[in-house]
Structures are given as structure tokens and as C-alpha cells.
């Protein structure tokens, strides 16, 4: 019993003492996150710390040597996975673990079904508010330094680049993102439905995002708005549900391969067995929903690219199909 009390006291004292040594400035605990990467920023209060170890709950480790890589504020870009993430920061004095700090955050996935709604205790908090920017301004230029409508010749000149550079990694990158003309979409106006919100991030892009997308892709609007049938997420203007406006490993910056993306919502749909042999989609490695369906809008039912002409036997259900070869 006495031992138990001692232990718990020790933990409490250790906890109090530990929290003084290293402090996670960003991301704050219980934060809802929207990007696959986060810029972890740690403030080191104890100058005797020689090494910092960052550990995620997927056992990814990042080590920062105090002398070389940081002074009193260290930062590291940490990859997140959809859902709950716990990031632990350990401060070492020599080989001896001296301090611990942790931050729990929730990465909301736009596309994956199980990770769209975070538990209640996670809060929407934004970094680019006046208060936190003021803190960073002591060392960093926090202004939007791009010239309106002119991209950087050297993208590293962008003030956004240092923290957000990971957002444009990917085989396919959206030109404005990879050229760091951030302000063409992230206006810095801090408005939600025309109303100024003070605690909102300066660069928050309010839904529906298609207002911004159509700024450039105006021809698509002209074509799609005339169509008879429109896909619901598309019609609601939620382009970013399927597309990553920055970069992606997949063509057209879609967040996952089409089949995965489609079946996240349309989980009951399966590929027609007769199509699995690829004979109906010549030239493709893998049968794909978008080979026959238009994910945006169409004049034909089921968003088919061409009017259906014949049925395909799907076993229980009867689907109507038209193959392009016939």
C-alpha cells in the first residue's frame, strides 16, 4: 500500500517535473488534423538535454541531436495515419531519459470511411491564428511573402515551404501547390460564409471548396453543370473529398485509387464478375469504376459515360452495361 502511494506520488512528481523540460508547441493535445503530415514543434526548457527522441504509436522514431539540429525550439515533420495518433517526445540527458511529453491528435481522412468523424473530445484548433503566429514571429517570418499571381522561381523562398513542404510530395502534384502559389487558394482572409471568424486559421479554406477550384477550372463547371445527373459529393462542391488539392501518388490527385475511393461509400457495389477478366476494359491493368462511370456528372443514369445498351449478369442483381468494344 505504502509502496503504491510512493509510486503514484513519484509518477505525479515525475510528471510535473517532466512537463517542464520539454513542451510540445504544435500540434496541441487533442487536436483535429486534416493533413497527412504535421510539423511537430518542441520547446526545450532544460538546456542540459542532449537528444530528443520522437516516437509515434506506429513505432516510427525520429531522433534530434540538440547541438546540431536545434537550439531551444526543435521541429520535425511527422507522418500521420488516419484516425488517432499519439506522438511522444522524450528528452534525454546523455543516455538517461529525463523528460517526456505527448500529444494526441486525430487525423480526419476525407476519403476513408472509418476516419471521418473524430471522437467528441478532439477539438478543431488552428495554428495560423494571431496568437500563435505572434509567438513564432520572434524568429520566423510568418507573412505570406508571395507576390499576387506570380510563382516563386525558387520555391524554397516561400515562407510556407519550410513547414508545409511535405504536402507536395507525391508523384502527381497540383501546379499551384508545387509552385507554392498558396495564396491563390488560401486567401488569408479568415472568413467563413462571408463572416469573419477570429479564432479561425488565416488560411482555412471553407466548404464548399469548389468556389476556389472553379476559379481556374471554369471550363469543367460549364460542362458539368449542364449534365442531367450529378454525383452528390461533386454537386455539393466537395472536390477535396476525392482529390487532394496539393499532391497525390495517383493521377488527377485523387486520394486513393478509384476503386478504393468509390467503394468507401459504395461499399455494397462489387465489380461485375464478367468484368474481372479485363476483357471489357481493354488496355487496363485493373478494372476501374471510372472506366465506365463518370465520377462527376453525366447525362446517362448511373453516371455512365455512354448510354447503356445491354445487361451484364451479376448473379443476384441485373446490371445494365455497354462495353466500349461492341
Amino acid at each position: 500500500m505504502i509502496l503504491k502511494i510512493f509510486c503514484s506520488l513519484g509518477v505525479v512528481i515525475f510528471g510535473l517535473w517532466a512537463s517542464e523540460g520539454v513542451e510540445i508547441l504544435h500540434p496541441v493535445d487533442k487536436k483535429i488534423h486534416h493533413e497527412a503530415y504535421t510539423g511537430l514543434t518542441v520547446k526545450v526548457h532544460d538546456r542540459n538535454i542532449s537528444k530528443i527522441l520522437i516516437l509515434t504509436d506506429r513505432n516510427e522514431r525520429y531522433t534530434l541531436e540538440m547541438t546540431r539540429e536545434c537550439d531551444d525550439v526543435c521541429s520535425k515533420t511527422v507522418k500521420l495515419h488516419p484516425g488517432e495518433n499519439t506522438i511522444r517526445v522524450w528528452g534525454y540527458k546523455g543516455e538517461h531519459l529525463a523528460y517526456e511529453a505527448k500529444s494526441e491528435l486525430y487525423y480526419v481522412s476525407q476519403s476513408l470511411k472509418g476516419y471521418k468523424v473524430p471522437p467528441k473530445f478532439y477539438k478543431e484548433t488552428f495554428f495560423h491564428t494571431d496568437k500563435s503566429e505572434k509567438e513564432c514571429e520572434q524568429c520566423h517570418d510568418m507573412s505570406l511573402n508571395e507576390m499576387k499571381g506570380v510563382a516563386f522561381v525558387d520555391v524554397e523562398e516561400s515562407n510556407c515551404y519550410m513547414c508545409h513542404k511535405k504536402t507536395t510530395t507525391g508523384k502527381y502534384a497540383h501546379a499551384p501547390a508545387v509552385n507554392w502559389v498558396c495564396s491563390s487558394c488560401h486567401s488569408g482572409k479568415r472568413e467563413e460564409k462571408g463572416k469573419r471568424v477570429s479564432e479561425m486559421s488565416k488560411y482555412h479554406v471553407p466548404d464548399p471548396i469548389h468556389v476556389i477550384c472553379y476559379g481556374c477550372h471554369e471550363k469543367n463547371k460549364e460542362i458539368w453543370d449542364r449534365k442531367k445527373y450529378r454525383h452528390l459529393p461533386f454537386d455539393a462542391g466537395l472536390c477535396n473529398k476525392c482529390h487532394n488539392p496539393h499532391a497525390s501518388e495517383h493521377s488527377m490527385f485523387i486520394r486513393e485509387v478509384p476503386n478504393v475511393l468509390c467503394t468507401e461509400c459504395h461499399g455494397d457495389k462489387k465489380f461485375p464478375p464478367s468484368m474481372r477478366d479485363n476483357s471489357r476494359c481493354p488496355g487496363t491493368q485493373e478494372p476501374s469504376c471510372v472506366k465506365c462511370h463518370n465520377p462527376h456528372a453525366s447525362d446517362n443514369p448511373y453516371f455512365l459515360d455512354e448510354p447503356r445498351t445491354h445487361t451484364v449478369d451479376l448473379g443476384r442483381d441485373q446490371f445494365l452495361f455497354k462495353s466500349k468494344g461492341q
Binding site: G149, V150, A151, V153, A175, N179, V181, S184, C216
Partner: protein, 507 residues
Amino acid sequence: MIKKYGVKIALLLAALGIVAVLYQSGGGEKFGRFIAIMKQISANVFQKDHEEKIDITDEELSEVNIDKIALDLENRGHSSSEASPEPAAPREIPIDEIRFEERPTHTKMMIKEAKPIDLKDIPAKLKPLKKYLHEPFKMGACQICHVPKGDNPAALVKSNIHEICYECHKTKYTKEFDHKPVKEGKCTACHDPHQSDVPKMLRGTSINDTCLKCHEKGNEAKGMTKFITMNGKFKHKPAEKSCLECHEPHTSNYKTLMKKEVGLEFCLDCHSSIKDHRDMRKWINTVRYKHGAVSDSKGKCLECHDPHSSNYRSILKKDPVQVCLGCHDKSLKADEDGGMLLNIGQHLKDNPNWHKPIRDPNGKEGGCSGCHEPHGSDNFSILKKSFTKNFYADLENKDFFCFKCHKESKITERFTTDDDITKFRDGDVNLHNLHVNDRKGRACRACHDEHASKNKHLIREYTDFSSVKFPLRFVDAPNGGSCAPACHKRFEYDRANPKGIGQKKEG
């Protein structure tokens, strides 16, 4: 006018003619001849065909002397009604009638008072005689102007020369703008009072020579301020022919003694009907996009062209590029869409590599007018031929404006190793073809600046895509180069050691 008073005039002419002839000689045969002459004159007045055409000799005509008749009539009427003591007061006539000003004809009657001397007896310094002689001089009536006074045998009748001239040449020149010698009464500055080799008794060898005697540079000592040159390589044909094609020699209601108000219409009067020359009036009035220099400037045509002569083609005032930079060295508002035009002067200053027409303005297709139509055009930016404003333009069914000078094979050849066709190659793959000859072909101006650039081959610094300027990040290399625009990541090309661009597509 003629129809209304025609009969009266004819009657008067006839009556006075009869009186005059009877007074002078009389006689049956001469009277018959006189009737015939009068018939002919009245037929001419009414512009009718007269069945018998007779030749009237100069002598006969001078004896009829219609001018004299008309003047006498006027003077007589005047003196009878107002009894003015000075019937010879100079009268003003409308400007357009100056061409037809009365040329006094001296009759034997008039010089009766003067004692004519024989031409042989005129002073030696006036010999040999020239082609055209002033009539009083021809008659030897020196006394009309000269009267010996003291030791000067050729002293003038009146101290002011012009007063003597106006005695007979009763046209007084007073309009809004007078030629300075006219205003000052220096008739003899241009006219020789005795004789000349050119009509109008001019002092020079021709009309233009007379004018240029003062109006050519080098006469600053005379107090001249208005100079022109006719020594340029290119001359305005009317100016070459005679200054009087456009100018009045004596007086005018328009500045610089013009015959009409200087402006677009003045020039277009000729430049709408010149053979082998486009109808400028029609062109200027029908084009969709007008050039401000033509439609909305102070000098109109004279903003760019010299009306007399110049060393630059189309009689431009300056070099074909410099003349444009006279205005376009600042950002001007475009008439066509209200946007601001590029400050070309600054652009050329900032970017050392210039497009050949700008570099060599006097060459073939040189100057801004190699691509732009300075008198207005139906195409945007008053281009001579339509050209896409867009970033994308598929080559098919598009006749690119650039092909006017650049070879089409530059784009259309898929594989080439010819440096003359294009140097934008990766090995033998024509990268122009790869960029342009496609469904989503790019227009020339997507990558090239049509005026000037800091880079070789007029490669742009920035390309405009969806109103964002993306840098092309072009890097030149000895045997190729590389590019990292918004469209793709950095791709290198090399003519000698191909980097494999376009191979995937072909495969």
C-alpha cells in the same frame, strides 16, 4: 447663280463688248468676228455645246478683257452709290477662290500714260531675258513702278513694294494665318517683279526651290523657325511635286497655311483613292480595333509620318521601332479591352535578347509593323493576323501567325536532326512537336515571349496560366537545356546525348 442671272450677264457682256469694240475700232468685218467671239464665250459660260468652234487669238481676247469689264462694272457701281474716292481698295475673296485669282491683263489703254520703252533699252543687268516676263516689264512700262528720283533712276513709285503690287493685284491676303512675307508686304521675297524662268514669277528654280530657300535648315540666321527637309531617302510624292499641293502660299484659315484643316480627312482625301494602295479611309473606319495614334491622337497621321520626307520607310518620322516607342515607352490603356498595355520601352530595356523585327527594324518584316498593323486591325493587339490569346492551341486547322517567318516544319516534323529546323531536340525527337502537335497543343507564346527575353531563344521568364504567372525555370546548356515549368518537373534535353524525352510516348 449662273442660271438665275445668266441671261442678264450675257446681255451685259454683249452690250459692253459692243461698246468696247465700237469704241476701239469699229468696222463691219471686225464686228462680225466680235459677235462670233461673244457667242462662243456665252456658250462656254452656260457650258453648252456650240456648233461652230472658233479659235480666238490671244490678242483678240486681251482686247475683249472680261476681267477689266467686270472690274469696271464693280467700281462704277461702287463709286456711284457711295462715291468713294478710293475705288482701287483691295478686296477680299474667299480662300478657295484664291486659286482663280484675277490675273490683271494690261491693255494698251492702261499703259498709255506710261511711256513704254523698248525691251532693247532695259538695263543690262536684267538681260538676258527669261522665259516669263511680268507684263508691265514686257511692255516696257517701267514707269508703272519706277520713277527716277535724284541720283536713283530706278526709285520706286511708292516706298512700300506691296502697295505697288496691290495697285494691280487687288487680292488682299488677310486670313487667320498669313504667310510671314505676305503679312510684312514682302511680295518680292518670293516673286521677281521683272522676270523668271518659272511660272508665277518665282525667284527659285521651281515652287519647291522657292519655298526651301527659306524653309530648309541652315536658315536660322534669317530668323526662321519652321524647317522641313526634302532630302530624305523616302519622299512624300505630293511634297516632291509641289508644296502647294497641300499648302497655301499666301494665307489660310488653318495652321501652317494648310489648304484644309489638318487631320485624318485631309490625308485621307488622297489616301483613299491611290492606285495600288489600300483604301485607308475604308480601312480606318471599318477595323474592329483602332490604333489610338490614328483614332485618338493630336497629330493623327503626323504622329508617326513626316508629311515631307524622311530616311525611314513609309516616311516615318523615326526608325520603325523608335516611332512606336515614342508612345509605348509607358503603360497605356488599351482601347480594345480597357486593360493596360505592356510598357514595351521598359520591357526592351530589361530584356537584352530581342525578337529579330525589333533588333533589325529596317530589315524584311522589320519593325513593330512586321506583326502589328499600325492603322488598326480586326485582330486583338492590332495584329496583322489572328493569333490565339490562349495557352492551349492545337496545331490542326490553325494557321499560326508565327509561320509568316518561321518554318512550319519546326513544329510538324516529329523526328529531325537538322539544326536549321529546330534545336529544341532531345536526340532526334522534336520537342516542339511534342509540345504543340497534340490534342492539347500549346501556343507559341506559352513559352516564348514575342518581344524580348532575358533567356536565349526568347524563352519566357514566366508563363501565364489561369492568370497565375508560373516561372519556366529554363536553364541553358551547351548542347540543350532544361525546363521546370508548372506543367512538369525538371526535364532535360540534349541534342547529342538524348535524355529519353518522348520515348515513352513513341513506344
